[in-house]
Amino acid sequence: MSGPSLMDSLFQRSLEDLIKGLRQQLIGEQAFISKSLEEIRKEIKSTDLSTKSTALLKLSYLSNLHFQDMSFAAFPALEVLSSPRFSHKKIAYHAISLSFHDSTPVLLLITNHLRKDLNSTNEFEVSLSLQCLSRIANVDLARDLTPEVFTLLSSNKLYVRKRAVAVVLRVFEKYPDSVRVCFKRLVENLENSDPQVLSAVVGVFSELACKDPRSYLPLAPEFYKILVDSKNNWISIKVLKIFSKLAPLEPRLAKRVVEPICDLMRNTGAKSLLFECIRTVVTSLSENESAVRLAVGKVREFLEDEDPNLKYLGLQALRIVAEKHLWAVSENKEVVIKSLSDADPNIKIESLRLVMAMVSEHNVSEISRVLVNYAIKSDPVFCNEILGSILSTCSRNLYEIVVDFDWYVSLLGEMSRIPHCQMGDEIENQLIDIGLRVKDVRPELVRVARDLLIDPALLGNSFLHGVLSAAAWASGEYVEFSRNPLELMEALLQPRTSLLPPPIRAIYIQSAFKVLVFCLHTCFMRGKSIAPSASLDNLPAGVSASASYESFDDFSVENGADVAVVHGQTCASAPITKESIVNILNMVELALGPLLGSHDVEVHERARNLLGFVDLTKPEILNSSIHENRDSEGKRVETSKIIKLMHDAFSKELGPVSSSAQGKVSLPDGLVLKENLGDLEMICGDIEPPSSNSFSFGSPYEEEKEGLSFSNLQIRDDNEQSNESTSLLAAHRKRHGLYYLSSGKSEMISNDYPPASDHTLQGDINDNADDLVKLTAESLIPKRKPKHGKPRPVVVKLDEVDEKPVAMKQPESRDDSLSGAVRDVLFGSEDIPPTSSQSNLSNSSKRKGKEKQHTDPHSKESAVGDGNSSSRRRKDRSQGKERRRKSPRKNDEERKDADQKEKKKSSGGRHKSRQRAEEPLKVPAQTPVIPDFLL
């Protein structure tokens, strides 16, 4: 053992030396710290308390500012704590509050030290130990020291008393039973005249009320008095915090406090208090129109202030108001929109949220346009913030506010091209979701998808891969709307697709498959219709046509004719000739050949599928292009059959699949589902299913693989769906009746869609804030006239999706025991479990005495109150008051009796008043009666 020598303690470095030493180390600071730590480890073993305490102080410093571990000093800290010298104690307490925590092994050894110092006559010693207790108290410490804290709550030294009040919060939290002992004294302190103590007490109550407001309703009269009387802004702010929690629970209370709060709002010069008033009104008193008006007026002053802090808080307040009073935002829209270009990121984000709150179906396209132009110029963070909020706002409730889906789809395409865009995944989901749900938008969707696919530059941006996969999927799935499938084919097979991650590449290949089948099918069908040799093919045109009809869903039956028209256009714009088909087949072989060696299973399999198909069809096509004889007739029939088969397989429409579709599948025998997964449901129930994810996107390909089982499911689903959706549809038709046309026309209209680029006319507006304001100002005026010359297309909805995700269960109040204890105390329930400690017992008898004392102000309040309370009640109370005054302080027994009687009496009085209100008699703790005294 190398104990510290005399020399060590004589030449010990002080903290100042240590700091100076540290500052001289330009490099090697860490080495210096380790050296010092070594010294400290030696010094701390010294028997000399001065040496030990200096070492401890240095260690605290290193721990606090250089994050060095000091847990090894826990016991030395206790040793220093036992020193009679104040300076040593102070160092020890500091070290302990820095390093002790619930699992410190010596924690309980500190109890006696704390108790001794809590009983000290020196207020600073007491406050040191209180300070320490507020930081380290655990259940045991809180339980053991409750009597001391209780005593200090009425200390005549204000310096100590206010600290004791602050400590009570921690003690209550750790050891709820202490409430039974200390609560009365805490409440008594509400009448303290010293503003510091009062501020501390009100602060504690505002913390307590945050966790469980209902328990503190009975104290409303006291708080009300403080609210009205207080001249101290700190106290007023805290009382307002309390009322903002209490007011929503008790409408009468809300009515009662509105006036004083409005008075404060009008008269105060302190911005902090003014803001608190505003916040209280807009959060908790938002039913009161005039108060809200006043508050919004004050918010306006904040918004127009030079100080960015006030502006920021003003915007925040406005956002709270916006939930119930949107007019408040509209009134201040200029400031809000100008704030979008503020230098302060906080202010920008707040104003963005407010702008999004103003969005409705009438102005969504204008606002989005403005915001997208804004996003292009913003820094990446804010840019994505903007894009994210556009995406979430527009997709809310199944695209509730989007009327023109063509516009929206092209907006999505445009958004994904913004250089900073990182919202690829969300855009991907929405593109697919819209494709599945909104039939009318598909031609535009394919156009947007084509533009995205054809641009080789986009393939290099990994943030866009999600969007590209959605585009590839859409162009394959809805290829019949494409103007030029050959071009699509080239885009899907371009060499740069090697930059894509394998899963997306697999989607590309599968889409290429679909496009290819479509091309072949078109080509063959046309060939047949030109050459009236239908009989040769054993496939009469009528059959094939009807087959293609079948392949579409109910909706498509009407559109069959139109699809043909689209086909005609396709052929006109880019005739699919045999040569082009052969080119494509060669291209496929060229592009996919190397992929047969791919390590990714998906890619490998898709490529294999496609190449296999090409192998099947290619020889015959080559053949038929060379010599048109009928030798290969049999083979040709076979090929056509294959092509037709594949075409039919692909043209089966994928509807949105309800997230609960699985539930409709009957459980196979012998499959135990609920056994272990029952618990999982509890967890999953809390997770809100994102609306766009409620469909299985992932499966379209698997679907074809496992065609049988899945299509069965789909048919079942469709049947049920149609039943379920009838009512929904009817509801929708009722609501948007204007937009419904007779079904036969719908496809014609879809051809009449104005090109989405019309909207980009506004694209060249320059974005300075004034223009923004003007533009938004126009669009904010609710116009009833339909700006969109076409109906809002039907958005396929499913019952299940419309159900709101199950609201999360309100977390049960965490500190049940605490609030239970508080209620026990406040409502004086008799079954207080006897507490073991001696002092607790004696205290509890005192407490009972106090009980009535504290209702005393209630009765005063009733006199102040609206005067409706019956005179008899008042008499009861004043009698009680008199009696209490008479009861001499020393004679506890007598007092208790008196109180008991008094309690009976006054409770009788209350009892009556309750009866009058026809409230159930025996509802003590759960529905706190707040008392008419205030109201």
Partner: protein
């Protein structure tokens, strides 16, 4: 309640760190680093509030003030008023200024104990207890006297009256 008080210089070195709940040292270090990361990227003359939920978890806000080479930072939850916290920073800085006569970073570096004494006088257990700098200074003064005294217990004349009034 107030969750933490920090003073960090413009190079990111902590000069004062006080957390009102126990946090492991690594966590403390990480928080300080994150807070500094947010603050140093903010331009001058913008609002003094920062959304702290990404750093300190839900229901937490930051108010800070940039003075000379130091950031003064208060972290608190929704039961405090933002502007009042800004005032409290002012109280702290004023008190330091009166205590050290034109306070600068070096004063804070070399007066580790005293700074903590001052802070403990203003805040206890996350609750604001004192906002008048004269009172704070008076208490700090008395505490210094006690610290200098060879034996605290005998030197307190008030103690007798304290006993009697109990």
């Amino acid at each position: 309640m107030i969750k933490a008080v920090m003073v960090i210089n413009t190079q990111g070195k902590p000069r004062l760190a006080k957390f009102f709940e126990y946090l492991p040292l690594e966590k403390q270090q990480e928080l300080i680093r994150n807070v500094f990361g947010v603050l140093c990227s903010r331009p001058e003359n913008v609002s003094n509030f920062v959304d702290a939920e990404s750093i300190f978890g839900p229901d937490s806000r930051i108010v800070y003030k940039h003075l000379a080479t130091l950031y003064f930072i208060f972290v608190f939850d929704s039961s405090e008023n933002e502007l009042a916290m800004l005032d409290l920073i002012q109280v702290l800085v004023e008190t330091l200024d009166r205590c050290f006569k034109n306070v600068c970073e070096l004063d804070i570096v070399f007066n580790y104990s005293k700074i903590h004494t001052i802070l403990d006088d203003i805040i206890c257990g996350g609750q604001v207890l004192e906002t008048r700098s004269t009172e704070i200074l008076r208490a700090v003064e008395e505490i210094s006297k006690l610290e200098a005294a060879p034996n605290a217990i005998t030197l307190i004349p008030k103690s007798a009256s304290g006993w009697l009034s109990r």
